[in-house]
């Protein structure tokens, strides 16, 4: 009667490790008892030891799971209109790779590693939708608006925002400007979403007028900040 003894996980060759990992994933799916050491070892070799082949195996073993997460995400329908499944999966692994390196992360359980991978995918989906929304809803469509403001070359976003705020002496107007322009909310949305701060849409219209008047009184500075000649 032969008994096969596996080598310690850390010494196991990669293809055997990959087989074990695939088996363990199937066990997880069937809700059977499992042993995470094989999967974790692939993560460790890929992330800590920087073994390229381990990284490829990791993507092979877990790519399908990422795809299932993507399909199960509440925004998947809209997200898949913006990019392909393949790109989302590829971006997820790339971003995951950079993040675990930047933060020097190691995972002690498979659940924690997959939670991190899942969080990466979730973030990428939302970032994709944000980018689409910005280009669709908040771009300047009319001819005569410069495509990209030169302002970005000498002003970072924080400076621009702080400078605009400095043109608004009233705290309430500054807050409203933030909600209107930075958050892109419309007045009625503000009343619904921030009712504790603003519960009267007419007040918002009035304050919006005041904000625009104040900004236009500083037109030269605003032009420089926003890089737009026609304000």
């Amino acid at each position: 009667m032969g008994i096969t003894m596996d080598a310690p996980v850390s010494q196991m060759n990669l293809s055997l490790l990959a087989d074990r990992c695939t088996d363990e994933i199937k066990r997880h799916r069937r809700k059977e008892p499992f042993d995470d050491r094989y999967c974790l070892e692939i993560f460790r070799r890929a992330i800590v030891e920087h073994i390229d082949q381990s990284w490829s195996i990791l993507q092979q073993c877990f790519g399908e799971i990422v795809r299932i997460w993507l399909r199960s995400h509440p925004s998947s329908d809209v997200a898949l209109l913006r990019d392909s499944e393949e790109n989302y999966v590829a971006q997820t692994f790339t971003r995951f790779w950079h993040a675990v390196h930047d933060q020097h992360l190691e995972f002690s359980t498979l659940h924690s590693a997959l939670s991190y991978l899942h969080a990466t995918l979730g973030g990428i989906i939302i970032d994709t939708l944000r980018t689409y929304l910005r280009s669709k809803e908040f771009s300047l469509p009319v001819a005569g608006f410069p495509e990209e403001p030169l302002v970005q070359e000498h002003n970072d976003d924080l400076t621009t925002w702080e400078s605009i705020q400095s043109l608004l002496p009233d705290e309430r107007e500054r807050r409203l400007a933030y909600l209107l322009y930075y958050c892109g909310l419309k007045p009625r949305e503000i009343v619904i979403r921030c009712s504790k701060e603003f519960d009267d849409v007419k007040e918002i219209y009035r304050l919006s007028h005041n904000i625009i008047e104040r900004l236009r009184r500083n037109r030269e500075r605003l032009r420089w900040l926003l890089g737009d000649e026609e304000i």
Binding site: R71, S75, S115, A119, G123, I126, R130, V151, L215
Partner: protein, 257 residues
């Protein structure tokens, strides 16, 4: 002085128009059509609002990937404090974080495989092939680019919009196949979903509305007709859900003009 003329709209009224949230009384609307000063006031509001939103919209928000890591508790201390502080100000990020936390709390690393993966439904983007010169139905709105003809493989789709007597807009379509073996009723019962083009997740989830909930749904009738109504002004995406194929039609802009 709020109004340059007795019949001129007030600043508040004009601002509501600039945000497409209000309508003017008939007299003021008539005045606006005639008065270049009021037209300029409105144009300034619209232009300044559009410019500021274009330049500032969420420029300083943490990326959603960072928000996800923040919710997992794996960001460095300094970054954690900075994100926490931002969340106090930004309702959009605060809503995204609430949604992320909900998803993370329900995270199952090994979920059952969705039907859509098992059946491997293909998704195809329909191509706009022609914009016809003249409408087919009564009282078509003056929006540019309607009616339209789309094609996706063997599927032809003609779409046009029509205004009803109560000013509501309806979207009408007829779907046919260039496959000579397909019968006229081949598409009967096929679901057609109309989605609003993406808004912020936080806005979409308001009122327990899931992001994937269609704005309107209908089914193709026995001769291939599609009818969706009423449709407010806005940007939409249509998905025709065939058994093994989803046809996506993007860029449906409905303008009540």
């Amino acid at each position: 002085m709020d109004r340059p003329h007795a019949l001129a709209p007030s600043n508040e009224e004009l601002m509501s128009v600039a945000y497409n949230e209000g309508t003017l009384p008939a007299e003021e609307r008539a005045h606006l059509e005639q008065c270049s000063i009021c037209q300029q006031r409105l144009a300034i509001y619209m232009r300044t609002n559009a410019l500021l939103r274009a330049k500032l919209y969420r420029r300083l928000c943490p990326s959603a990937v960072d928000l996800n890591y923040y919710c997992l508790g794996v960001v460095p201390e300094e970054r954690r404090i900075s994100i926490a502080s931002h969340l106090l100000d930004c309702p959009l990020c605060a809503d995204e974080v609430a949604e992320i936390r909900r998803l993370q709390a329900n995270f199952d690393p090994f979920p059952s495989i969705p039907d859509s993966l098992r059946t491997a439904v293909r998704r195809l983007l329909a191509t706009l092939v022609v914009q016809q010169a003249h409408p087919v139905t009564r009282d078509i709105t003056p929006s540019a680019g309607w009616p339209r003809q789309y094609r996706a493989e063997a599927i032809d789709l003609s779409l046009h919009i029509s205004r009803e007597s109560n000013e509501e807009i309806m979207l009408l379509g007829i779907i046919t196949s260039t496959d000579s073996t397909a019968t006229v009723g081949a598409f009967e019962g096929v679901t057609v979903d109309l989605y609003q083009a993406p808004r912020p997740l936080s806005v979409q989830s308001e009122g327990d509305q899931e992001t994937t909930t269609p704005f309107l749904s209908t089914q193709v009738d026995d001769v291939g007709n599609i009818l969706l109504e009423p449709i407010p002004a806005g940007d939409y995406i249509m998905i025709i859900r065939l058994s093994n194929l989803e046809v996506v039609i993007e860029g449906l802009t409905i303008d009540h003009g």
